[in-house]
Symmetry: C2
Subunit: 232 residues, 2 copies
């Protein structure tokens, strides 16, 4: 009978939150409290251990709320990371010693991503996080553990998800213009589209519905507004 072990691994969730704004795509990183002899805490993405009785999706939502105050996001699981040597850095080990009951214990982590409109949410750092901040997706700093790898896999998953699952509409104002929508696609996919062809494609989507309203307060020809209808 093979060796049988129990309870020697910890399970965490980590969230890669992408923030979208008219012109840019960012990632949410938190900064840990520094140690007494440190200038600046290490940066990381918001994640923490899963409680014994909660679902993974639930844990992801709770942890995110605890660390950043963000709630109500659509969090999509995309990969589980479990390299036994995920914690290579000395600083990371030190941090674990201070904040975990079993710092030496191996942790596997289930990673989620989400995409939100930056300006609709306020980031309020918590007990654990010195601050929570947006960083450009192309200039992600050195992060704790294997978080840089997690972020880059999340970006792949996000791009894939935008095309396949039509995530993304949540990011726009309730009433949006086609130019705003095109912007969103271009920024996330890092790719330009032809205006006319883009609009032709959108017109095929049944859940993008034209409204009898126009943009107001702009100093040029006002655009028609559209809304997104979830269930068709």
């Amino acid at each position: 009978m093979p060796e049988r072990l129990s309870g020697v691994l910890d399970v965490s969730v980590d969230n890669v939150i992408f923030g979208f704004d008219e012109n840019i795509l960012k990632v949410l990183v938190i900064e840990r409290k520094p140690f007494p002899d440190e200038k600046k805490g290490m940066s990381a993405i918001p994640g923490d251990l899963v409680y014994p009785k909660e679902s993974l999706d639930g844990a992801a939502a709770r942890v995110l709320k605890d660390l950043t105050s963000l709630e109500g996001l659509f969090l999509k699981q995309f990969h589980t990371f479990g390299d036994p040597n995920r914690v290579k850095d000395l600083k990371d080990q030190e941090w674990l010693t201070n904040f975990r009951i079993n710092p030496e214990r191996r942790v596997i982590t289930i990673a989620y991503y989400s995409l939100i409109k930056m300006d609709e949410y306020q980031l309020l750092p918590s007990y654990f996080a010195e601050k929570a901040d947006w960083v450009d997706v192309l200039e992600v700093p050195d992060l704790a553990f294997d978080h840089n790898e997690i972020v880059s896999k999340a970006l792949e998953a996000l791009r894939h998800g935008l095309e396949v699952d039509q995530i993304g509409f949540e990011l726009l104002p309730e009433k949006f213009t086609l130019t705003q929508l095109q912007n969103l696609y271009e920024i996330i996919l890092d790719k330009k589209f032809d205006k006319r062809n883009f609009r032709k494609n959108i017109k095929k989507m049944e859940h993008v519905i034209p409204l009898n309203e126009k943009q107001e307060g702009v100093l040029h020809k006002p655009a028609q507004l559209f809304k997104f209808e979830k269930d068709v």
Copy 2:
């Protein structure tokens, strides 16, 4: 400071192994040893707890080998299942009581799938598995825990993977005919293709290489053989 718990979850891996044969797609299920008062052990897909020092991919491979003797498969992680109530069935609980050190402990499981040629592998059940058998993918029996859900998600992932990642060529003999290849696609995707159009598409794939050889021993016009070249 929020409650912080450690070591209260177990981590397992589960493998959904699809077996392909000229005409059919099957799934590998194992049958557990029955209890003394049972006629027949419950069926399940091969999975077990992860050891403290092994990678997840490594655990998936080891567990699979232990339970079925299959080795050297390409195992692809596709989802992690962690519902706190994964174990609903009374029989499942009973089984855990007999075979796990901490039977009441919640288990999250990282699921993998693979696809192999059935006739190239021999299934040898192990200590834990009464037998290991192939069942038609359309007639999967009631399985332990949430294994039915895992299998159906795996099938989705497989179909997606066949088109996107060109998994699938491992399934064919080293030298194969285009009809065999078409068969494989048709069975896995459960969909018919036009012979001529299919062949046109294959000719675009640089890694499918025609050989100067023909099929032998068939009682009809022998087909040209092709091979699959991994790195282009």
